[in-house]
């Protein structure tokens, strides 16, 4: 096989992995702060994807331009969900939280099925079939834009947690719940804010990924599972870990498809997960629990 094929596939995997990473980042933020495992994560992303499809079909609005409004809608939905439904479950046993989120996921999938039907829906922009030729390399334009958008959104999120007062307060809640209460932080509001940020993140990822993948309601569970694989690989609760995990899984799937058989590429992603669980259970960038 010519050498350029390896680079082409690797670049494609890297760019897809960045979008995966952004999606998993939302899950990591929610778990890292609220300590609730969001089993409806992929389903929330499909909501964002459908929003992008509807906006494009109705008004010809490019999903990349609609990224912020869609993220804002998902933020509000996440904030309200946390305040009304999830907050009462915070102190309940984990299995109750799991069942709650699984129920939310099932409701979302079925509502989407009722509204949009089972057909795959896509956004076909003017650049959907474009690619850039750089010497022997051919780079998919859509994936390139998606990858760049993912990096920008992730950078904004990192900056928020590093520099913004609310970001610091959320981190304080995540680090020491009792301490946050003692110093007078409104933990309930901050939890809702963190959950909203997580869903906004997955909303942005949905608006981006709809450029690459056609959306169907049953897509949600598949992406929830993928997000789990990524955050566990990268380190549960670690934001850089989620991004790194996404890139690693994207690259692994692409290269496994090239070197072995494409139908087995998911197997290799799960193989990475098993190796991480065996040799570094806290994930690549996760902190070891004492």
């Amino acid at each position: 096989m010519p050498a350029d094929i390896y680079f082409n596939v690797a670049i494609g995997g890297l760019l897809t992995g960045l979008v995966y990473g952004l999606m998993a980042l939302g899950l990591s933020v929610i778990f890292g702060v609220v300590r609730v495992v969001n089993f409806a994560h992929g389903e929330m992303m499909t909501i964002a994807m459908y929003l992008a499809v509807v906006l494009f079909a109705s008004f010809h609005l490019d999903p990349l331009l609609m990224l912020l409004p869609i993220a804002a809608v998902l933020f509000c939905a996440g904030y309200l969900l946390q305040m009304t439904l999830i907050n009462p479950f915070i102190s309940r046993p984990e299995h109750s939280q799991f069942m709650l989120m699984v129920a939310v996921a099932l409701i979302i999938v079925n509502c989407l099925l009722m509204i949009f039907g089972p057909d795959a829906q896509a956004v076909q922009t003017s650049y959907s079939f474009d690619s850039f030729a750089v010497g022997p390399l051919i780079i998919d334009a859509t994936k390139l834009y998606a990858g760049i958008a993912s990096i920008l959104v992730a950078a904004v999120l990192f900056a928020f947690f590093k520099f913004a007062p609310y970001g610091k307060a959320i981190r304080a809640c995540a680090d020491n719940y009792t301490g946050a209460l003692v110093v007078g932080l409104d933990v309930k509001h901050l939890y809702a804010l963190a959950f909203g940020l997580g869903t906004a993140c997955v909303g942005a990822a949905g608006a981006i990924i709809v450029l690459i993948v056609d959306v169907t309601p049953p897509l949600g569970p598949a992406y929830t599972l993928l997000a789990f694989v990524i955050v566990i690989t990268g380190g549960l609760g670690s934001m850089p870990g989620a991004l790194l995990g996404g890139v690693l899984i994207g690259l692994t799937e692409a290269m496994a498809g090239l070197f072995f058989t494409p139908s087995a590429k998911s197997m290799f992603a799960f193989g990475i997960l098993v190796l991480v669980l065996l040799f570094r259970p806290q994930g690549i960038m996760g902190r070891r629990l004492t």
């Binding site: 096989m1 010519p2 094929i5 082409n8 596939v9 494609g12 995997g13 897809t16 099925l113 039907g117 089972p118 057909d119 795959a120 896509a122 076909q124 959907s128 079939f129 474009d130 690619s131 030729a133 051919i138 998919d140 334009a141 859509t142 690459i212 993948v213 056609d214 169907t216 309601p217 049953p218 897509l219 598949a222 799937e253 692409a254 498809g257 090239l258 058989t261 494409p262 139908s263 590429k265 998911s266």
Partner: protein, 410 residues
């Protein structure tokens, strides 16, 4: 309050009661045999990865009863079930349909799902007429209640090889190498195995440089297409479904690879959704598939009815073979004069419909329950429409060969 009555039970009363009970029990069967519509459970993948095709098949169901009326066939009472593109769901839905009173089953587009339904039908003794499914083992199990009016994978392949040679001859050249991309579901694997076994016997002008399989629910086929392109093959040989056919075309355009031809031996490339989604980029692929004879009377009726009810939809395999499966059911019910499953199965076994739609002499079944007289056609996408380019004598256009490169299209 009424007073309690003293009732003496006589032998005469018992006899009358038994007679009345007997009449009540047997009456529905008599009524059913004399005019009630046959309850047909139609199982199709109307959600999940094959939703588009399942819904397309259902158009054939919606057109059936009005046309049957004109042909003197009895009306059918359709009971719908969605298999959700899932073998286990297909099995469960078949059981439920039978429990709900279905007297005959039709479905299920996919070989894996049809195999599961066939097991249920055979176990319960309810006739099952397969509309579309090509995996050979389904009719090799010695089933007594399973019938298939659709070619098996070897039949499709045999016809495809012969028709390919005809197309190459008319086109004036043949690819020397091809790369074979296929889904790894039951149908895809059956076609792959059949291809390996049968190709040497047909002395094809090309060799297969590489075989690449992929998951039917794949969301991205960039790696698969990159790998195929890297082989440097002249043409693409594919066995796919609808969503993957669209994904593959997008990748061909993005990766700037225009093969000499796309030779499809399965669904996907001729579907309306494919044509509408891709516009001009959807032109060119050749599908070597079970099709319909446009000159048959019922074909014209079905085409007209489809055009009226679903404007803008091209008639295709999905409509034709789903319609014909129901036609087999209605014809058997008419001849059996009963909804008894065994009588229906016996009637299906002796089916001889010549006034039909599909290419070939008509519908009849061999001892295994397979219609082995079906023939394939070659369809090419041209300007959002489908034209028949082979076999000789059943064409309405000349093949456009080689396929116009993607970058040369407006």
């Amino acid at each position: 309050m009424s007073e309690p009555r003293n009732v003496t039970l006589h032998r005469r009363h018992l006899l009358a009661g038994a007679a009345a009970l007997g009449a009540t029990v047997t009456a529905p069967a008599i009524v059913r045999a004399q005019g009630a519509a046959l309850k047909v459970g139609v199982l199709l993948p109307r959600s999940g990865a094959q939703a588009g095709i399942g819904q397309d098949c259902f158009r054939g169901v919606e057109l059936a009863n009005p046309i049957f009326k004109g042909l003197g066939l009895p009306e059918l009472q359709i009971m719908n079930a969605d298999t959700e593109t899932n073998v286990d769901v297909a099995r469960a839905r078949a059981e439920k349909l039978i429990a709900d009173g279905a007297q005959l089953l039709v479905g299920a587009f996919d070989s894996g799902q049809s195999s599961a339904i066939a097991q249920v039908a055979e176990q319960k003794g309810i006739p099952f007429v397969i509309n579309i499914a090509a995996a050979p083992p389904i009719t090799e199990q010695g089933y007594k209640f399973v019938f298939r009016n659709f070619p098996t994978a070897p039949m499709i392949l045999g016809d495809a090889f012969n028709n390919q040679k005809e197309v190459f001859e008319v086109g004036g050249s043949a690819p020397k190498t091809v790369v074979f991309l296929h889904v790894n579901d039951t149908f895809g694997m059956a076609m792959k195995n059949g291809l390996s076994a049968m190709m040497p016997k047909f002395n094809m002008p090309y060799e297969i440089k590489e075989t690449i399989s992929y998951d039917p629910t794949a969301r991205d086929l960039s790696v698969e297409v990159a790998k195929a392109k890297a082989t440097g093959a002249d043409a693409l040989l594919v066995v796919s479904r609808l969503n993957d056919a669209i994904l593959m075309t997008r990748e061909l355009v993005k990766q700037r690879w225009s093969p000499q031809a796309i030779l499809s031996m399965g669904p996907g490339w001729y579907e309306d959704q494919y044509l509408k989604t891709l516009g001009k980029l959807g032109d060119g692929p050749l599908s070597f598939v079970p099709w319909y004879d446009p000159n048959k009377k019922v074909s014209k009726q079905l085409e007209a009815a489809l055009g009226k009810k679903f404007p803008g939809i091209n008639m295709n395999t999905n409509h034709v073979y789903t319609f014909e499966a129901l036609m087999v059911a209605a014809d058997a019910y008419k001849r059996a004069k009963s909804a008894d499953p065994k009588a229906l199965a016996d009637a299906i076994r002796t089916t001889n419909i010549t006034d039909n739609v599909s290419t070939g002499p008509g519908i009849s079944f061999n001892a295994k329950g397979q219609n082995d007289k079906l023939k394939n056609s070659v369809i090419q996408n041209r300007g959002g429409k489908l034209v028949t380019v082979a076999p000789k004598g059943a064409t309405n256009a000349k093949v456009e060969w080689p396929m116009k490169p993607y970058d040369k299209r407006a």
